[in-house]
């Protein structure tokens, strides 16, 4: 106790000189508590833990001194405008249930006294958690939930850094347009295939809405239950519809089942564009070479390092701490703490209204994020990051390779897909 007190005392004394210029709302030795809610037990606990690791690494970088990292607040220790105050994550488990999202957000704010929230991964949990923080007037920065509805609610304290499913759907269609232009491909018809929970049906809705805007005709609109054990009738309908391109929103088990059925029944569109399931760690080991040429939406890939050295540096730190490469989930959750810390630092206080004001003025340049974005700036109405966009990766030789945006690509996209019969 004595040691800590005297250290705090000397720290405070040392700061007295510089403090005359700043009007910090937080004492120098105080920690800034940030609530982080993730599904840490239950069916997707490993995903939740992955997300948490991303956020933890971000807090490490903010609190420590990393002169060679071009990330917000990496070069200084803690938040300079608040006398070097450090962030502390207060972690909570939601079990992936919406009612726990609400309960944990309330507990973190009222009992743990967190000044802001990040997380919750599942959109339904983020929904109730952010509703609770809205009532309690606490800022919430989300960088891991993708339901478009989250930023359509007009909440005052809720901000989203990462792209949502409507952006992802638009990206995929934009990719097709770019492909037509760059490679002289002719694409006219698409088929929408999606599982019927909130995630898939939302993506399906977006595809059906956006495809005509891009001049594509939807020739099949098929939804199915993600736990289906046989999908031959769905694939049969796809074959009959003869789309140029298939767009498929799935979880992992259905992605595997569909891949096998495409091969068995010889479904050969020019390309298959996919969401989520096709990039889960278990997909490739299950389908091996049959997964080749699938195009998947993502926000992050390690080969972005080719055009962005920052990615390699951050991944090296991640690997050192957790022993594995940074996944897409970890990379998504990584950004929210920076956005919050940057806003609190500029606000020079943790007071909610000032932080919200600072969040609205956020302008983090593109070279300070680990994705190929122009940066981070929030729409004043929806509080969605206007620069957020996805990337597309293609499975080539059983590896995920970034193929779009073309300027960030690590390899050329292989298009059209070789027919199943011609594959080795």
């Amino acid at each position: 106790m004595h040691g800590k007190r005297s250290r705090n005392l000397s720290f405070a004394l040392a700061l007295l000189l510089s403090l005359s210029l700043t009007s910090a709302g937080v004492a120098a030795d105080q920690e800034i508590k940030i609530g982080a809610a993730y599904p840490l037990s239950g069916a997707i606990a490993s995903t939740g833990l992955d997300c948490l690791h991303g956020a933890e690494l971000a807090v490490d970088i903010i609190n420590g001194k990393y002169p060679d990292l071009n990330l917000p607040l990496a070069k200084s220790e803690g938040l300079p405008n608040l006398g070097g105050a450090k962030l502390k994550l207060v972690v909570a488990d939601t079990k992936g249930e919406p009612r726990n999202g609400q309960a944990e957000a309330e507990r973190l704010v009222t009992q743990e006294k967190v000044v802001a929230m990040i997380g919750a991964y599942q959109s339904s949990v983020t929904k109730t958690a952010s509703q609770a923080t809205e009532r309690l007037k606490i800022p919430y920065v989300c960088s891991d939930s993708s339901s478009p509805t989250l930023t359509e609610r007009g909440l005052k304290y809720f901000f989203r850094v990462s792209p949502h499913d409507a952006i992802f759907a638009r990206d995929q269609l934009q990719f097709l347009k770019d492909l037509e232009k760059a490679k002289g491909q002719k694409i006219t018809t698409i088929a929408a295939l999606y599982e019927n929970t909130e995630f898939g049906s939302n993506v399906g809705k977006q595809i059906l809405k956006l495809a005509p805007e891009f001049g594509y005709k939807v020739v099949a609109d098929i939804s199915y239950a993600a736990n289906a054990t046989d999908v031959t009738s769905e694939v049969g309908r796809l074959i009959n519809a003869k789309p140029d391109v298939l767009m498929h929103a799935s979880y992992i088990t259905d992605a595997i089942l569909f891949t096998k059925t495409y091969k068995e029944m010889g479904f050969n569109p020019k390309g298959i564009m996919t969401f989520a399931g096709y990039i889960e760690p278990g997909y490739l080991p299950a389908v091996k070479g049959d997964g080749n040429y699938m195009v998947v939406r993502s926000t992050f890939a390690l080969d972005l390092a080719k055009n962005k050295p920052l990615v390699a540096k951050v991944n090296a730190l991640f690997k050192k701490k957790y022993g594995i490469d940074m996944s897409e989930n970890a990379a998504r959750s990584f950004t929210a703490p920076f956005v919050l810390a940057d806003a609190i630092n500029r606000a020079k206080t943790t007071e909610a209204e000032a932080v919200v004001k600072a969040l609205l003025a956020t302008n983090i340049p593109g070279d300070q994020v680990i994705y190929p974005w122009k940066g981070i700036q929030f729409d004043p109405q929806s509080h969605q990051n206007i620069h957020a966009r996805g990337i597309l990766v293609q499975i080539q030789n059983q590896n995920y390779v970034t193929v779009w945006p073309f300027e960030s690509a690590a390899a050329d996209v292989i298009w059209p897909f070789p027919a199943w019969k011609t594959r080795k």
Binding site: G48, R99, R107, K127, Q131
Partner: protein
Amino acid sequence: MKKPTVLQAVFYAALLAALLAFPLVVKGTFPTHVMIMVFLFAMMGVAWNILGGYAAMFSFGQAAFFGIGAYTSTILLMNYNVNPWIGLVAGGVLAALMGAAIGIPCSNLRGHYFAIASIAFAEIVRIHFNNWKFVAAAEGLSLPLLPDSLKNFMFHSSKAPYYYIILVFLLLSVLICWYISTNRMGFYLRAIKESHELAKGMGISFVRYRLYAIMISAFLTAMAGTFYAQYILYIDPESVLILPISVQVVLVAMLGGAGTIIGPVIGAAILLPLSEITRVWLGYKGTGVDMMIYGALIMVISAYQPQGVWGYLTSIRRRAK
């Protein structure tokens, strides 16, 4: 039914006073939230008990009634601007009618077969809602935020009103259960539970009484559903219609003591805080230890005291006499 002794009366009065004072005395919203969850599941446990405990219809489909209650009041509020209290009654009536509709073909089923049928029913309801555009399918519904008032059944500044409302709901359910168990219907149900043939021989129309039991149980469970919607303010099939909710309701009743009035309340008072507290203490480490402790406790109780906690307590009392 014996009249309670003076000592018992004093005990219950003190308990009630403590419950009434709880949200005023205890600081922080989280303990109040845990108590609200206890009362919510206790209420559903009591409702299940009317079916499973007294009438031996082991329903694993209570989530369907819960969801119908939550969705009915919410849809009425969002689309037709109907007051949630009216929605609550409408949801209850609809759930009771649904209960009757499945009760007629299923009330002849016994034991396991009724349980299987109830799971099937609840899954059909869930899948239907998951694909039903009118109720926003899998996207779920966010309730419009209305100003704080009892009339709106919505309170943003404090959890205490929610606490008192669900406490009243629970007391109401306990009273109904007590009334049934001490009246003709309760005796009939128990006779049916002992032997279908015997009850039939005695001239008891067991289909009719079983239907009554299903309808009452469904109504109360739907009330709990409306409460959930008004409390959490967001519902989707994944949070109000899934099998784990039905299972938790059964667990609450079995753990506390099925076929007793107070058993499900005790079950909920043990199970819910246990799951909430282990989650808060251990869940954030992501090791799953909280779930293991939770599961182990359920196994211990079911292995050593299949009559439930209440059964254990009464057996101690009997031995002491």
